[in-house]
């Protein structure tokens, strides 16, 4: 049993109430964006064996690239690798404006990143895991995708591009 009560100054009490309201406000904002506005983050999709993912003929990453699955809808299988050199396969993809592209990206060696400039696509690429995200390219242009995780001395030259044609 404690007779002592916590002493809280009136200004400090008000500040704490204000802080709590502010934090709840942030949490609501983020929640609305997460659930109401279609913000996507990668979710567990598929486990693969990084040792065979690029060579096994049954693996889509043995033949990486675009597959048109319906008019204007594509699946893009992309392999990120540091060995033998730092690159994405394929390095370049071309789609018409308005295309909806679902990316399936994995690594055959170390951890990489995948960030498509000027879009909300920005995720980790891990060996053994598949990162999946869908992006609709409305405007024509060249969108670089760059590696955002340290993957060895060639990390800074690792990039590719999506060319969106009118």
């Amino acid at each position: 049993m404690s007779a002592q009560k916590m002493h809280i100054d009136i200004y400090e009490r008000n500040w704490m109430i204000f802080s709590a309201i502010m934090i709840v406000g942030f949490a609501i904002t983020v929640s609305v964006a997460a659930f109401g506005m279609g913000i996507q983050v990668p979710a567990p999709e598929q486990r693969v064996d990084p040792k065979t993912v690029a060579t096994d003929p049954n693996s889509p990453w043995s033949n990486p690239g675009l597959r048109e699955i319906a008019p204007g809808k594509y699946d893009a299988y992309i392999l990120a690798r540091a060995v033998p050199s730092w690159e994405y396969l394929p390095k370049e993809l071309t789609v018409p404006a308005g295309s909806k592209v679902t990316f399936y990206v994995t690594s055959s060696d170390v951890q990489h990143g995948f960030k498509i400039q000027d879009t909300n696509a920005n995720f980790m690429v891990l060996p053994g895991q598949v990162s999946k995200l869908t992006i609709t390219f409305k405007n024509p242009g060249t969108y670089n995708f760059i590696c955002t995780e340290f993957c060895g001395v060639g990390h800074g030259v690792m990039y590719g591009a999506i060319i969106v044609t009118p």
Binding site: Q4, A33, Q117, F123, G152
Partner: protein
């Protein structure tokens, strides 16, 4: 009343921690400007080829020595001082603490050898399957184990003090230090399990592969609370020392300060997944729960901001300061220990705002692994923490050595150059991140850099140059102080801001450890348990190692 005196041996012991910390900082800081200059297009790495194999070897040295060695050694030394001085009693078992310290020192040496020979160019996050020499992992383990042992020594000392003082409140600086040491014991479990069950046996050839997703999850279990392990010692100084130094101020609220430390203990571990929002193997629902808890831990930081600023205002008004803001000018800005910590606090305000952006589940998509991130943590760990520790050393080193601080004005200039250099550097890094520049890239050479980044890259170099000057000033002051023939007449007074309210009037539950520890562990089990259970159940040790540097 004469202040409690540490023995010569105790002063030497605390001082040894500071010495290792400062040597690490001196070497680590040397490499900071090299990264910054590279961004501006002044690449010195080709000239350093005989010594340094790559940009990334330099970056590894910079990150490991500054973020891990400088911080951990300074903190363990400062916590040890606070416990002894705060409790007014010697360590219960000084040999145990010495063993802990030497295990840490051996650990640093064992870690440094492969880094310096380019066998561990894996940066301070050492994400597998980048595979460093086994010595790198073994050395890091020793550093962590040594810091645990030192922590146990501090807990035993507290327990002995508690037996001697059954009803007294723990003096605040000792209280805060013990909570910090406790937080460290809990949160380092993640990286300990990562190294001992995967990385070390793998690097020794005992297992063929690792699971990179599980390794990342273990790493960030430790990685975020690590931030609070850095920050809380600075908070101890801001709460309970700085107001006194700034103008004889008192600590505005003792009990809320204690409450905020306990909230940090409970909330700082179960939110590590906010570093893994865009990892493929972690279910989004847990990412979201961790994002909400991350906002929760903002609360004790806001409480800290209030109490610290109110205590400083008390100091400013005591010095005759008036007006809503004019009292700030009356603070003791000519004391380098005050100037450093006030400036560190100002930049921490912006660091905190940037942290909220990182923590936001959605906004993070724009920022993740961009230059925004190093921009952010140079405001937090490299300024709020490092500049404050420099400030603490401006009184602690004279206290420990009995030497007068050399060059007070030089030290004040050091504080301001750090502040200005960091504003330029960090602002440019934040903007680059928003423009899409990735982190950990020698941007001076990257083929995809658009022209619109160039002016910001130049600012990174300018900021780095000013910071380099500041670091040199700091080491000149430290070396000149150590060699100073002029000694202090009396022992340097340890700045302690007394609380406005008698702590004995505060609630007893603020001095009980058990409920908070159980609460922390329960929350960890609740929000980390299912994620880790699933990842461990589906473990796939399929990734062989790569040496790609």
């Amino acid at each position: 009343m004469k202040q409690y005196q540490l023995s010569v041996g105790e002063k030497k012991f605390v001082g040894s921690h500071l010495l290792v910390a400062m040597v690490a900082l001196a070497i680590g800081t040397l490499f900071g400007p090299l990264q910054a200059f590279e961004h501006a297009g002044w690449d010195f790495y080709p000239y350093l080829k005989p010594l340094l194999k790559s940009y990334y070897q330099g970056l590894t040295i910079h990150g490991v020595l500054n973020a891990l060695v400088w911080t951990t050694f300074f903190i363990m030394g400062f916590l040890t001082f606070n416990v002894i001085f705060g409790l007014k009693r010697p360590l219960k078992n000084p040999t145990l603490n010495k063993v802990g310290f030497w295990v840490m020192v051996v650990g640093v040496v064992v870690t440094a050898i492969p880094i310096l020979t380019n066998e561990a160019t894996v940066l301070f996050t050492f994400y597998p399957p980048l595979k460093a020499s086994w010595m790198f992992y073994a050395g890091l383990t020793l550093v962590v184990v040594g810091s645990w042992v030192e922590g146990w020594g501090l807990f035993m000392t507290y327990s002995a003090w508690r037996k001697e003082n059954a009803t007294e409140r723990t003096p605040f600086i000792a209280f805060g230090s013990l909570v910090t040491a406790l937080l460290w014991q809990i949160c380092t479990l993640g990286v300990a399990v990562e190294i001992l069950t995967m990385l070390l046996p793998w690097s020794l050839g005992l297992i063929d592969g690792v699971d990179p997703q599980l390794a990342r999850t273990y790493f960030w279990f430790t990685g975020h609370p690590l931030v609070y392990f850095w920050l809380l010692p600075a908070y101890i100084s801001w709460y309970a020392m700085l107001p006194k130094q700034a103008g004889e101020g008192k600590m505005f609220s003792d009990s809320l300060a204690r409450l905020s430390f306990w909230i940090f203990l409970v909330l700082s571990t179960p939110l590590g997944l906010h570093h893994q929002y865009v990892d493929p193997g972690v279910p989004p629902v847990w990412k979201f729960i961790h994002s909400m808890l991350t906002f929760g831990v903002f609360f004790p930081s806001l409480m800290t901001a209030f109490t610290v600023i109110a205590s400083l205002e008390h100091a400013g008004r005591k010095q005759g300061g008036k007006g809503t803001f004019a009292w700030i000018g009356k603070l003791n800005w000519s004391d380098p220990s005050v100037a450093t910590q006030l400036l560190a606090g100002i930049l921490f305000f912006f660091g905190g705002i940037g942290g909220l952006a990182n923590a936001s589940y959605n906004v993070n998509l724009v920022l993740h692994n961009t230059a925004f991130i190093p921009g952010h943590f140079h405001l937090t760990v490299a300024t709020a923490v490092t500049l404050s520790f420099m400030g603490i050393s401006y009184w602690l080193v004279p206290y420990l050595t009995g030497k007068k601080l050399w060059g007070r004005k030089v030290a004040v200039a050091q504080a301001w150059t750090w502040f200005i250099g960091m504003i330029i550097f960090s602002n440019a890094m934040h903007v680059l991140g928003l423009l899409g520049a990735p982190r950990r890239v020698p941007l001076g050479l990257a083929p995809y850099v658009p022209a619109e980044w160039n002016s910001r890259l130049f600012q990174v170099g300018v900021g780095g140059a000013i910071l380099f000057v500041s670091a040199i000033l700091y080491f000149i002051v430290m070396v000149k102080t150590a060699l100073n023939k002029e000694t202090v007449a009396e022992e340097v007074e340890v700045p302690i801001a007394q609380p406005m309210q008698d702590p004995a009037l505060g609630p007893v539950w603020l001095d009980r450890w058990a409920p908070w520890i159980y609460g922390a562990l329960a929350l960890i089990v609740l929000v980390y348990g299912p994620v880790l259970f699933d990842l461990i159940k589906n473990i796939a040790l399929t990734s062989p190692g790569f040496r790609v540097w």
